[in-house]
Protein backbone atom coordinates (compact mmCIF):
# COMPACT_ATOMS: atom_id res chain seq x y z
CA UNK A 1 0.00 0.00 0.00
CA UNK A 2 1.31 3.47 -0.83
CA UNK A 3 0.15 6.86 0.26
CA UNK A 4 0.06 10.08 -1.74
CA UNK A 5 -1.95 13.25 -1.70
CA UNK A 6 -3.27 13.11 -5.29
CA UNK A 7 -6.72 11.93 -4.24
CA UNK A 8 -7.18 14.70 -1.69
CA UNK A 9 -10.21 16.97 -2.41
CA UNK A 10 -9.65 20.54 -3.59
CA UNK A 11 -10.89 21.85 -0.31
CA UNK A 12 -10.65 20.05 3.02
CA UNK A 13 -14.05 18.73 4.03
CA UNK A 14 -15.53 19.89 7.30
CA UNK A 15 -16.05 16.75 9.35
CA UNK A 16 -16.74 18.68 12.55
CA UNK A 17 -20.08 19.04 14.27
CA UNK A 18 -22.63 21.34 12.72
CA UNK A 19 -23.93 23.90 15.20
CA UNK A 20 -27.31 25.54 14.83
CA UNK A 21 -27.27 29.18 13.66
CA UNK A 22 -29.09 31.85 15.66
CA UNK A 23 -32.78 32.01 14.78
CA UNK A 24 -36.07 30.28 15.57
CA UNK A 25 -36.43 26.55 14.93
CA UNK A 26 -39.31 24.08 15.17
CA UNK A 27 -38.72 20.50 16.36
CA UNK A 28 -35.69 21.21 18.46
CA UNK A 29 -35.21 18.00 20.40
CA UNK A 30 -33.61 17.75 23.84
CA UNK A 31 -30.95 15.05 23.61
CA UNK A 32 -28.97 15.41 26.80
CA UNK A 33 -28.83 17.26 30.10
CA UNK A 34 -25.38 17.51 31.65
CA UNK A 35 -23.86 18.61 34.92
CA UNK A 36 -20.63 20.54 34.37
CA UNK A 37 -18.26 22.79 36.31
CA UNK A 38 -16.67 26.09 35.42
CA UNK A 39 -12.96 25.68 34.77
CA UNK A 40 -12.24 28.46 37.26
CA UNK A 41 -13.52 27.88 40.83
CA UNK A 42 -15.30 24.65 39.80
CA UNK A 43 -18.79 26.12 40.13
CA UNK A 44 -21.40 23.52 39.10
CA UNK A 45 -23.90 24.32 36.37
CA UNK A 46 -26.33 22.46 34.16
CA UNK A 47 -26.65 22.60 30.38
CA UNK A 48 -29.44 21.35 28.15
CA UNK A 49 -28.22 20.05 24.80
CA UNK A 50 -30.46 19.90 21.75
CA UNK A 51 -30.50 18.58 18.22
CA UNK A 52 -32.21 20.21 15.24
CA UNK A 53 -34.21 18.32 12.59
CA UNK A 54 -30.98 17.81 10.60
CA UNK A 55 -28.85 17.06 13.62
CA UNK A 56 -27.66 20.62 14.24
CA UNK A 57 -26.24 20.91 17.73
CA UNK A 58 -27.59 23.49 20.13
CA UNK A 59 -27.38 24.12 23.84
CA UNK A 60 -28.78 26.28 26.59
CA UNK A 61 -26.80 28.84 28.49
CA UNK A 62 -25.15 27.85 31.75
CA UNK A 63 -27.76 27.19 34.44
CA UNK A 64 -26.04 27.66 37.77
CA UNK A 65 -27.44 25.68 40.66
CA UNK A 66 -26.34 27.42 43.81
CA UNK A 67 -29.23 28.17 46.14
CA UNK A 68 -27.21 30.75 48.10
CA UNK A 69 -27.94 34.40 47.42
CA UNK A 70 -24.61 35.96 46.48
CA UNK A 71 -23.43 39.52 46.93
CA UNK A 72 -22.76 42.27 44.43
CA UNK A 73 -19.36 43.93 44.07
CA UNK A 74 -20.45 46.63 46.52
CA UNK A 75 -21.31 43.98 49.11
CA UNK A 76 -25.09 44.33 48.80
CA UNK A 77 -27.08 41.09 48.51
CA UNK A 78 -28.20 40.00 45.03
CA UNK A 79 -31.93 39.89 44.31
CA UNK A 80 -32.06 36.14 43.81
CA UNK A 81 -29.94 33.02 43.91
CA UNK A 82 -28.51 31.36 40.79
CA UNK A 83 -30.98 28.49 41.29
CA UNK A 84 -33.97 30.86 41.25
CA UNK A 85 -32.80 32.13 37.84
CA UNK A 86 -32.13 28.64 36.50
CA UNK A 87 -35.35 27.15 37.85
CA UNK A 88 -37.28 29.69 35.79
CA UNK A 89 -35.49 28.45 32.67
CA UNK A 90 -36.20 24.82 33.57
CA UNK A 91 -39.88 25.60 34.12
CA UNK A 92 -40.02 27.29 30.69
CA UNK A 93 -38.58 24.14 29.12
CA UNK A 94 -41.03 21.82 30.92
CA UNK A 95 -44.00 24.02 30.00
CA UNK A 96 -42.87 24.06 26.36
CA UNK A 97 -42.19 20.30 26.26
CA UNK A 98 -45.51 19.30 27.88
CA UNK A 99 -47.60 22.28 26.76
CA UNK A 100 -48.75 22.82 30.33
CA UNK A 101 -48.91 25.69 32.79
CA UNK A 102 -46.44 26.71 35.45
CA UNK A 103 -48.24 24.91 38.26
CA UNK A 104 -48.36 21.65 36.32
CA UNK A 105 -44.71 22.01 35.40
CA UNK A 106 -43.79 22.54 39.06
CA UNK A 107 -45.74 19.42 40.03
CA UNK A 108 -43.99 17.37 37.34
CA UNK A 109 -40.58 18.44 38.60
CA UNK A 110 -41.41 17.87 42.26
CA UNK A 111 -38.60 18.35 44.73
CA UNK A 112 -35.06 17.10 44.67
CA UNK A 113 -32.18 17.57 47.04
CA UNK A 114 -28.89 17.66 45.11
CA UNK A 115 -27.36 19.08 41.95
CA UNK A 116 -27.17 15.61 40.45
CA UNK A 117 -30.84 15.01 41.19
CA UNK A 118 -31.75 18.30 39.49
CA UNK A 119 -29.95 17.11 36.37
CA UNK A 120 -31.39 13.57 36.55
CA UNK A 121 -34.91 14.88 37.00
CA UNK A 122 -34.59 17.46 34.22
CA UNK A 123 -33.17 14.81 31.89
CA UNK A 124 -35.98 12.36 32.68
CA UNK A 125 -38.56 15.05 31.96
CA UNK A 126 -37.03 16.63 28.87
CA UNK A 127 -34.86 14.18 26.92
CA UNK A 128 -36.63 13.19 23.71
CA UNK A 129 -39.11 16.08 23.93
CA UNK A 130 -39.38 18.63 21.14
CA UNK A 131 -39.89 22.37 21.47
CA UNK A 132 -39.77 25.48 19.32
CA UNK A 133 -36.58 27.28 20.30
CA UNK A 134 -35.08 30.68 19.70
CA UNK A 135 -31.31 30.70 19.59
CA UNK A 136 -29.45 33.93 20.17
CA UNK A 137 -25.77 34.31 19.30
CA UNK A 138 -22.54 35.70 20.67
CA UNK A 139 -19.67 36.56 18.39
CA UNK A 140 -16.24 35.31 19.38
CA UNK A 141 -12.86 36.94 18.73
CA UNK A 142 -12.47 34.84 15.58
CA UNK A 143 -15.79 36.09 14.17
CA UNK A 144 -17.64 32.84 14.80
CA UNK A 145 -21.07 33.18 16.33
CA UNK A 146 -21.81 30.83 19.24
CA UNK A 147 -25.52 30.04 19.61
CA UNK A 148 -27.39 29.39 22.83
CA UNK A 149 -31.06 28.92 23.62
CA UNK A 150 -32.78 32.14 24.59
CA UNK A 151 -36.43 31.15 24.82
CA UNK A 152 -38.60 28.11 24.12
CA UNK A 153 -42.28 27.50 23.45
CA UNK A 154 -44.52 24.52 22.86
CA UNK A 155 -44.76 23.10 19.36
CA UNK A 156 -48.53 22.98 19.92
CA UNK A 157 -48.95 26.78 19.97
CA UNK A 158 -49.11 28.89 16.84
CA UNK A 159 -45.69 30.41 16.10
CA UNK A 160 -45.49 34.09 16.85
CA UNK A 161 -44.52 34.60 20.45
CA UNK A 162 -40.84 34.15 19.74
CA UNK A 163 -39.21 36.95 17.73
CA UNK A 164 -35.73 37.00 16.30
CA UNK A 165 -33.83 40.09 15.22
CA UNK A 166 -30.21 39.53 14.21
CA UNK A 167 -29.24 43.09 15.09
CA UNK A 168 -30.41 42.65 18.67
CA UNK A 169 -30.03 38.92 19.19
CA UNK A 170 -26.41 38.54 18.15
CA UNK A 171 -24.01 40.06 20.62
CA UNK A 172 -21.07 41.52 18.72
CA UNK A 173 -17.52 40.88 19.80
CA UNK A 174 -15.94 43.85 21.57
CA UNK A 175 -12.34 43.50 22.66
CA UNK A 176 -11.84 44.67 26.22
CA UNK A 177 -9.89 47.90 26.39
CA UNK A 178 -7.32 46.66 28.93
CA UNK A 179 -6.68 43.64 26.71
CA UNK A 180 -6.02 45.94 23.77
CA UNK A 181 -3.60 47.97 25.85
CA UNK A 182 -1.81 44.85 26.93
CA UNK A 183 -1.49 43.76 23.30
CA UNK A 184 -0.10 47.18 22.32
CA UNK A 185 2.31 47.08 25.22
CA UNK A 186 3.57 43.69 24.08
CA UNK A 187 4.11 45.00 20.57
CA UNK A 188 5.99 48.10 21.66
CA UNK A 189 8.20 46.30 24.16
CA UNK A 190 9.16 43.49 21.81
CA UNK A 191 12.73 43.36 20.54
CA UNK A 192 13.00 45.33 17.29
CA UNK A 193 15.17 42.77 15.57
CA UNK A 194 12.63 40.03 16.32
CA UNK A 195 15.13 38.00 18.34
CA UNK A 196 12.50 37.25 20.97
CA UNK A 197 10.19 35.51 18.50
CA UNK A 198 9.71 31.81 19.23
CA UNK A 199 10.62 30.73 15.68
Amino acid sequence: MSFNLKSAPEKAQNTGKQYVSPGIYDNTKVVEVVLLETSKNKVPYMEIHTSGPNGEIGKSGKMFLSTKVGTNEDGSPKKMSAWEMSSGNILDFIQAAYNNNREQAETLFGEVSSNQQVVDKTAALLVGKVVRAKFKGEEGADGRVWPSIDKVESMSVTPGTLRYDATRDIKKYRPQSNTAEAVNADITTGAKDGSDLPF
Partner: protein, 355 residues
Protein backbone atom coordinates in the same frame (compact mmCIF):
# COMPACT_ATOMS: atom_id res chain seq x y z
CA UNK B 1 35.69 -50.42 44.83
CA UNK B 2 34.09 -51.11 48.13
CA UNK B 3 35.15 -48.42 50.53
CA UNK B 4 33.72 -50.31 53.44
CA UNK B 5 36.56 -52.85 53.07
CA UNK B 6 39.44 -50.37 52.88
CA UNK B 7 41.89 -50.45 55.68
CA UNK B 8 42.03 -46.87 56.78
CA UNK B 9 41.00 -44.63 59.57
CA UNK B 10 37.25 -44.15 60.11
CA UNK B 11 37.65 -40.46 59.26
CA UNK B 12 39.32 -41.21 55.97
CA UNK B 13 36.73 -43.84 55.08
CA UNK B 14 33.98 -41.29 55.68
CA UNK B 15 35.72 -38.75 53.42
CA UNK B 16 36.12 -41.31 50.66
CA UNK B 17 32.46 -42.31 50.86
CA UNK B 18 31.51 -38.67 50.58
CA UNK B 19 33.71 -38.13 47.51
CA UNK B 20 32.40 -41.19 45.73
CA UNK B 21 28.80 -40.14 46.25
CA UNK B 22 29.37 -36.58 45.12
CA UNK B 23 29.77 -35.07 41.64
CA UNK B 24 27.52 -37.55 39.90
CA UNK B 25 24.92 -35.71 37.70
CA UNK B 26 23.02 -38.71 36.54
CA UNK B 27 20.37 -38.50 39.22
CA UNK B 28 19.98 -34.69 39.33
CA UNK B 29 16.37 -33.57 39.77
CA UNK B 30 14.74 -32.57 36.51
CA UNK B 31 11.36 -30.82 36.34
CA UNK B 32 8.67 -32.64 34.42
CA UNK B 33 7.52 -30.77 31.30
CA UNK B 34 4.15 -30.43 29.58
CA UNK B 35 5.54 -32.23 26.54
CA UNK B 36 6.59 -35.22 28.62
CA UNK B 37 3.12 -35.47 30.13
CA UNK B 38 1.31 -35.09 26.82
CA UNK B 39 3.59 -37.69 25.20
CA UNK B 40 2.34 -40.22 27.72
CA UNK B 41 -1.27 -39.32 28.30
CA UNK B 42 -4.06 -37.73 26.27
CA UNK B 43 -5.40 -34.37 27.45
CA UNK B 44 -8.93 -35.76 27.34
CA UNK B 45 -7.89 -38.48 29.80
CA UNK B 46 -6.56 -35.81 32.16
CA UNK B 47 -9.81 -33.84 32.07
CA UNK B 48 -11.75 -37.02 32.68
CA UNK B 49 -9.56 -37.83 35.65
CA UNK B 50 -9.39 -34.43 37.34
CA UNK B 51 -12.67 -32.80 36.39
CA UNK B 52 -15.07 -35.09 38.16
CA UNK B 53 -18.28 -33.79 36.63
CA UNK B 54 -17.02 -33.67 33.03
CA UNK B 55 -18.66 -36.24 30.75
CA UNK B 56 -18.63 -35.01 27.15
CA UNK B 57 -17.21 -32.17 25.09
CA UNK B 58 -19.39 -29.07 24.98
CA UNK B 59 -22.02 -30.43 27.36
CA UNK B 60 -22.68 -28.29 30.43
CA UNK B 61 -21.86 -29.62 33.88
CA UNK B 62 -21.70 -28.20 37.40
CA UNK B 63 -18.44 -26.82 38.70
CA UNK B 64 -16.79 -28.82 41.46
CA UNK B 65 -14.74 -25.80 42.53
CA UNK B 66 -17.64 -24.26 44.41
CA UNK B 67 -21.24 -25.05 45.28
CA UNK B 68 -22.50 -24.62 41.74
CA UNK B 69 -26.28 -24.81 41.56
CA UNK B 70 -26.61 -24.82 37.78
CA UNK B 71 -24.56 -26.57 35.10
CA UNK B 72 -22.51 -23.57 34.00
CA UNK B 73 -19.23 -25.17 32.82
CA UNK B 74 -18.14 -26.67 29.54
CA UNK B 75 -14.96 -28.18 28.14
CA UNK B 76 -14.29 -27.89 24.44
CA UNK B 77 -11.40 -27.67 21.97
CA UNK B 78 -10.07 -24.20 21.16
CA UNK B 79 -8.14 -22.91 18.15
CA UNK B 80 -4.72 -24.26 19.23
CA UNK B 81 -6.16 -27.78 19.42
CA UNK B 82 -6.04 -27.89 23.23
CA UNK B 83 -9.07 -28.28 25.47
CA UNK B 84 -10.36 -25.38 27.50
CA UNK B 85 -12.61 -25.37 30.54
CA UNK B 86 -14.97 -22.36 30.66
CA UNK B 87 -17.19 -21.48 33.60
CA UNK B 88 -19.92 -19.29 32.10
CA UNK B 89 -21.16 -18.44 35.58
CA UNK B 90 -17.93 -16.87 36.81
CA UNK B 91 -16.14 -16.20 33.52
CA UNK B 92 -13.18 -18.38 34.62
CA UNK B 93 -11.21 -20.25 31.95
CA UNK B 94 -8.68 -23.01 32.56
CA UNK B 95 -6.25 -25.25 30.69
CA UNK B 96 -5.85 -28.66 32.34
CA UNK B 97 -2.88 -27.73 34.52
CA UNK B 98 -4.42 -24.42 35.58
CA UNK B 99 -7.47 -26.41 36.54
CA UNK B 100 -5.43 -28.87 38.63
CA UNK B 101 -3.72 -25.85 40.27
CA UNK B 102 -7.08 -24.30 41.06
CA UNK B 103 -8.63 -27.53 42.23
CA UNK B 104 -5.85 -28.45 44.68
CA UNK B 105 -4.76 -24.89 45.38
CA UNK B 106 -1.17 -25.59 44.30
CA UNK B 107 1.33 -23.90 41.98
CA UNK B 108 1.55 -24.74 38.30
CA UNK B 109 4.78 -26.72 38.88
CA UNK B 110 3.15 -28.65 41.69
CA UNK B 111 0.21 -29.37 39.41
CA UNK B 112 2.60 -30.89 36.86
CA UNK B 113 4.07 -33.05 39.58
CA UNK B 114 0.66 -34.17 40.77
CA UNK B 115 -0.25 -35.24 37.23
CA UNK B 116 3.07 -37.00 36.63
CA UNK B 117 2.69 -38.84 39.91
CA UNK B 118 -0.95 -39.83 39.37
CA UNK B 119 -0.18 -41.15 35.88
CA UNK B 120 3.20 -42.58 36.87
CA UNK B 121 4.89 -40.65 34.11
CA UNK B 122 8.32 -40.34 35.76
CA UNK B 123 8.72 -43.56 37.66
CA UNK B 124 12.46 -42.97 38.04
CA UNK B 125 11.99 -40.10 40.49
CA UNK B 126 8.66 -40.68 42.14
CA UNK B 127 7.06 -37.64 43.66
CA UNK B 128 5.16 -38.31 46.80
CA UNK B 129 1.97 -36.30 47.20
CA UNK B 130 0.07 -36.54 50.43
CA UNK B 131 -3.27 -38.00 49.29
CA UNK B 132 -5.11 -36.20 52.08
CA UNK B 133 -3.87 -32.80 50.90
CA UNK B 134 -5.95 -32.78 47.74
CA UNK B 135 -9.20 -33.51 49.51
CA UNK B 136 -8.51 -31.07 52.31
CA UNK B 137 -7.89 -28.18 49.94
CA UNK B 138 -10.92 -29.00 47.88
CA UNK B 139 -13.16 -29.01 50.94
CA UNK B 140 -11.79 -25.63 51.96
CA UNK B 141 -12.54 -24.21 48.53
CA UNK B 142 -16.08 -25.52 48.60
CA UNK B 143 -16.77 -23.39 51.61
CA UNK B 144 -15.33 -20.21 50.14
CA UNK B 145 -17.35 -19.16 47.16
CA UNK B 146 -16.78 -15.51 46.34
CA UNK B 147 -20.07 -13.64 45.99
CA UNK B 148 -20.38 -11.26 43.10
CA UNK B 149 -21.03 -7.63 43.87
CA UNK B 150 -22.14 -4.90 41.54
CA UNK B 151 -21.44 -1.20 41.74
CA UNK B 152 -22.77 1.34 39.30
CA UNK B 153 -21.91 4.83 38.14
CA UNK B 154 -25.22 6.21 36.95
CA UNK B 155 -25.77 9.04 34.50
CA UNK B 156 -28.74 11.22 33.47
CA UNK B 157 -30.95 9.65 30.80
CA UNK B 158 -29.95 10.60 27.27
CA UNK B 159 -31.42 10.30 23.80
CA UNK B 160 -30.20 6.68 23.38
CA UNK B 161 -32.18 5.73 26.49
CA UNK B 162 -35.19 7.62 25.19
CA UNK B 163 -34.99 5.87 21.82
CA UNK B 164 -34.75 2.43 23.40
CA UNK B 165 -37.54 2.76 25.98
CA UNK B 166 -39.91 4.76 23.78
CA UNK B 167 -40.20 1.64 21.56
CA UNK B 168 -42.34 0.32 24.42
CA UNK B 169 -43.92 3.73 25.10
CA UNK B 170 -42.16 3.79 28.47
CA UNK B 171 -41.32 7.39 29.41
CA UNK B 172 -38.05 8.17 31.16
CA UNK B 173 -39.97 9.53 34.16
CA UNK B 174 -41.55 6.10 34.63
CA UNK B 175 -38.09 4.51 34.61
CA UNK B 176 -37.12 6.91 37.38
CA UNK B 177 -40.19 5.97 39.36
CA UNK B 178 -39.31 2.28 39.04
CA UNK B 179 -35.67 3.03 40.02
CA UNK B 180 -34.20 2.07 36.66
CA UNK B 181 -30.87 3.85 36.13
CA UNK B 182 -28.89 4.53 33.00
CA UNK B 183 -25.32 3.48 33.86
CA UNK B 184 -22.13 5.05 32.63
CA UNK B 185 -20.16 2.16 34.15
CA UNK B 186 -20.96 -1.08 35.92
CA UNK B 187 -18.31 -2.85 38.00
CA UNK B 188 -18.83 -6.55 38.56
CA UNK B 189 -16.54 -7.85 41.32
CA UNK B 190 -16.12 -11.51 42.09
CA UNK B 191 -13.28 -12.57 44.35
CA UNK B 192 -10.25 -10.64 43.16
CA UNK B 193 -11.66 -10.19 39.67
CA UNK B 194 -13.25 -6.93 38.57
CA UNK B 195 -14.98 -6.60 35.21
CA UNK B 196 -15.93 -3.12 34.04
CA UNK B 197 -18.81 -2.59 31.61
CA UNK B 198 -19.14 0.75 29.86
CA UNK B 199 -22.23 2.37 28.40
CA UNK B 200 -22.29 2.55 24.65
CA UNK B 201 -24.99 4.09 22.51
CA UNK B 202 -25.15 0.78 20.61
CA UNK B 203 -25.16 -1.24 23.82
CA UNK B 204 -26.72 0.75 26.68
CA UNK B 205 -26.53 -0.38 30.30
CA UNK B 206 -29.34 -0.22 32.84
CA UNK B 207 -29.49 -1.02 36.54
CA UNK B 208 -32.69 -2.03 38.31
CA UNK B 209 -32.30 -0.95 41.91
CA UNK B 210 -33.78 -2.93 44.80
CA UNK B 211 -33.80 -1.77 48.38
CA UNK B 212 -34.68 -4.14 51.17
CA UNK B 213 -33.61 -4.02 54.83
CA UNK B 214 -31.59 -0.86 54.07
CA UNK B 215 -29.56 -2.87 51.60
CA UNK B 216 -29.32 -1.86 47.95
CA UNK B 217 -28.79 -4.43 45.24
CA UNK B 218 -28.79 -4.19 41.47
CA UNK B 219 -29.88 -6.26 38.56
CA UNK B 220 -28.07 -5.17 35.40
CA UNK B 221 -29.81 -5.24 32.04
CA UNK B 222 -28.01 -4.84 28.72
CA UNK B 223 -30.92 -5.15 26.28
CA UNK B 224 -28.78 -5.03 23.14
CA UNK B 225 -25.96 -7.27 24.41
CA UNK B 226 -25.15 -10.10 22.00
CA UNK B 227 -23.25 -12.22 24.53
CA UNK B 228 -26.05 -13.80 26.55
CA UNK B 229 -23.77 -14.22 29.58
CA UNK B 230 -23.80 -10.47 30.08
CA UNK B 231 -27.35 -9.56 29.10
CA UNK B 232 -28.49 -9.95 32.71
CA UNK B 233 -26.25 -9.70 35.75
CA UNK B 234 -27.33 -10.07 39.36
CA UNK B 235 -25.72 -9.59 42.71
CA UNK B 236 -26.78 -9.45 46.28
CA UNK B 237 -30.46 -9.62 45.39
CA UNK B 238 -32.84 -12.27 46.60
CA UNK B 239 -36.09 -13.88 45.61
CA UNK B 240 -37.73 -11.56 48.10
CA UNK B 241 -36.97 -8.60 45.82
CA UNK B 242 -40.30 -8.28 44.06
CA UNK B 243 -40.19 -6.02 41.02
CA UNK B 244 -42.86 -3.34 40.93
CA UNK B 245 -43.99 -3.93 44.52
CA UNK B 246 -43.02 -0.49 45.82
CA UNK B 247 -44.76 1.23 42.93
CA UNK B 248 -48.17 -0.44 43.40
CA UNK B 249 -51.25 1.56 44.25
CA UNK B 250 -52.46 1.03 47.78
CA UNK B 251 -55.36 -1.09 46.55
CA UNK B 252 -57.27 -1.97 43.40
CA UNK B 253 -59.37 -4.51 41.54
CA UNK B 254 -56.69 -6.40 39.66
CA UNK B 255 -53.02 -7.15 40.23
CA UNK B 256 -51.14 -8.82 37.40
CA UNK B 257 -48.25 -11.13 38.20
CA UNK B 258 -46.00 -10.88 35.16
CA UNK B 259 -42.46 -11.95 34.34
CA UNK B 260 -40.33 -8.80 34.10
CA UNK B 261 -40.03 -5.25 35.33
CA UNK B 262 -40.37 -4.02 31.75
CA UNK B 263 -43.79 -5.66 31.59
CA UNK B 264 -44.73 -4.21 35.00
CA UNK B 265 -44.05 -0.76 33.56
CA UNK B 266 -46.04 -1.57 30.44
CA UNK B 267 -49.03 -2.62 32.57
CA UNK B 268 -48.67 0.65 34.47
CA UNK B 269 -49.07 2.48 31.13
CA UNK B 270 -52.47 0.78 30.90
CA UNK B 271 -53.28 1.80 34.51
CA UNK B 272 -53.00 -1.77 35.73
CA UNK B 273 -50.96 -2.69 38.78
CA UNK B 274 -48.36 -5.38 38.18
CA UNK B 275 -45.51 -7.11 39.98
CA UNK B 276 -42.88 -9.56 38.85
CA UNK B 277 -40.77 -12.21 40.57
CA UNK B 278 -37.06 -12.35 39.75
CA UNK B 279 -37.82 -15.18 37.33
CA UNK B 280 -40.77 -17.22 36.15
CA UNK B 281 -39.47 -20.30 37.96
CA UNK B 282 -39.30 -18.53 41.32
CA UNK B 283 -41.72 -19.43 44.05
CA UNK B 284 -44.41 -17.00 45.14
CA UNK B 285 -44.41 -16.53 48.88
CA UNK B 286 -47.81 -17.34 50.40
CA UNK B 287 -47.41 -14.63 53.03
CA UNK B 288 -46.94 -12.07 50.26
CA UNK B 289 -49.99 -13.44 48.45
CA UNK B 290 -52.09 -12.99 51.58
CA UNK B 291 -50.92 -9.40 51.99
CA UNK B 292 -51.59 -8.59 48.34
CA UNK B 293 -55.05 -10.15 48.41
CA UNK B 294 -55.96 -7.74 51.19
CA UNK B 295 -55.15 -4.87 48.82
CA UNK B 296 -56.33 -6.29 45.46
CA UNK B 297 -59.54 -8.16 44.69
CA UNK B 298 -57.77 -10.67 42.48
CA UNK B 299 -54.36 -11.64 41.15
CA UNK B 300 -54.03 -12.71 37.52
CA UNK B 301 -50.96 -14.42 36.07
CA UNK B 302 -49.47 -13.26 32.78
CA UNK B 303 -46.32 -15.19 31.91
CA UNK B 304 -44.87 -15.88 28.46
CA UNK B 305 -46.64 -18.39 26.27
CA UNK B 306 -43.61 -20.65 25.97
CA UNK B 307 -42.80 -23.98 27.60
CA UNK B 308 -41.34 -22.44 30.77
CA UNK B 309 -44.02 -19.77 31.02
CA UNK B 310 -46.91 -22.19 30.59
CA UNK B 311 -45.40 -24.68 33.07
CA UNK B 312 -45.03 -22.03 35.76
CA UNK B 313 -48.41 -20.46 35.04
CA UNK B 314 -50.07 -23.83 35.61
CA UNK B 315 -47.99 -24.41 38.75
CA UNK B 316 -49.18 -21.10 40.28
CA UNK B 317 -52.72 -21.68 39.04
CA UNK B 318 -52.72 -25.05 40.81
CA UNK B 319 -51.19 -23.63 43.98
CA UNK B 320 -53.29 -20.47 44.34
CA UNK B 321 -56.15 -20.89 41.83
CA UNK B 322 -55.19 -17.62 40.16
CA UNK B 323 -56.69 -16.88 36.76
CA UNK B 324 -54.23 -16.46 33.92
CA UNK B 325 -53.92 -15.21 30.35
CA UNK B 326 -51.33 -15.04 27.61
CA UNK B 327 -50.59 -12.14 25.25
CA UNK B 328 -51.96 -12.49 21.71
CA UNK B 329 -49.54 -12.75 18.78
CA UNK B 330 -46.43 -11.62 20.71
CA UNK B 331 -44.37 -13.07 23.52
CA UNK B 332 -45.12 -10.38 26.08
CA UNK B 333 -46.91 -7.08 26.59
CA UNK B 334 -43.79 -4.99 25.91
CA UNK B 335 -43.33 -6.65 22.52
CA UNK B 336 -47.04 -6.24 21.77
CA UNK B 337 -46.85 -2.50 22.46
CA UNK B 338 -43.71 -2.23 20.32
CA UNK B 339 -45.33 -3.98 17.38
CA UNK B 340 -49.01 -3.05 17.64
CA UNK B 341 -49.02 0.18 19.64
CA UNK B 342 -50.36 1.22 23.02
CA UNK B 343 -53.92 1.70 21.84
CA UNK B 344 -54.21 -1.87 20.52
CA UNK B 345 -52.57 -3.12 23.71
CA UNK B 346 -55.23 -1.42 25.80
CA UNK B 347 -58.00 -3.10 23.81
CA UNK B 348 -56.33 -6.50 23.98
CA UNK B 349 -55.58 -6.37 27.73
CA UNK B 350 -59.04 -5.05 28.53
CA UNK B 351 -60.56 -8.07 26.75
CA UNK B 352 -58.21 -10.45 28.57
CA UNK B 353 -58.96 -9.07 32.01
CA UNK B 354 -62.58 -8.04 31.76
CA UNK B 355 -63.71 -10.51 29.09
Amino acid sequence: MNVEHLICSPNMRESLLFLINMFSLSDAYRNITLEEIFSKVEEYQLWNYYCTNFREYDISFKSELYNDKNPSCRIKPISNGRLQYTDYGTGDRYGIFDYVSAKYNVTFKEALNIVSNDFNIRSKVPIVIDPGLKQLNLEKRLLIRPKASIEIISQPFNITDFNYWSQYDIPLTLLQEYRVHSCKYVYLTKGDKVIRFEYDKNNPLYAYEFISDNRTSYKIYKPLEKDKRYKWMFSGGSQADIEGLDQLNLNGDVLVLTKSLKDCMCFRLLNIDAISLQGETNKLDSELVNKLLKRFKKIIINYDQDEEGIKNTLRLNKEYSFEYFYIDKHKDLAEFIKQEGLKEAKIMINKKING
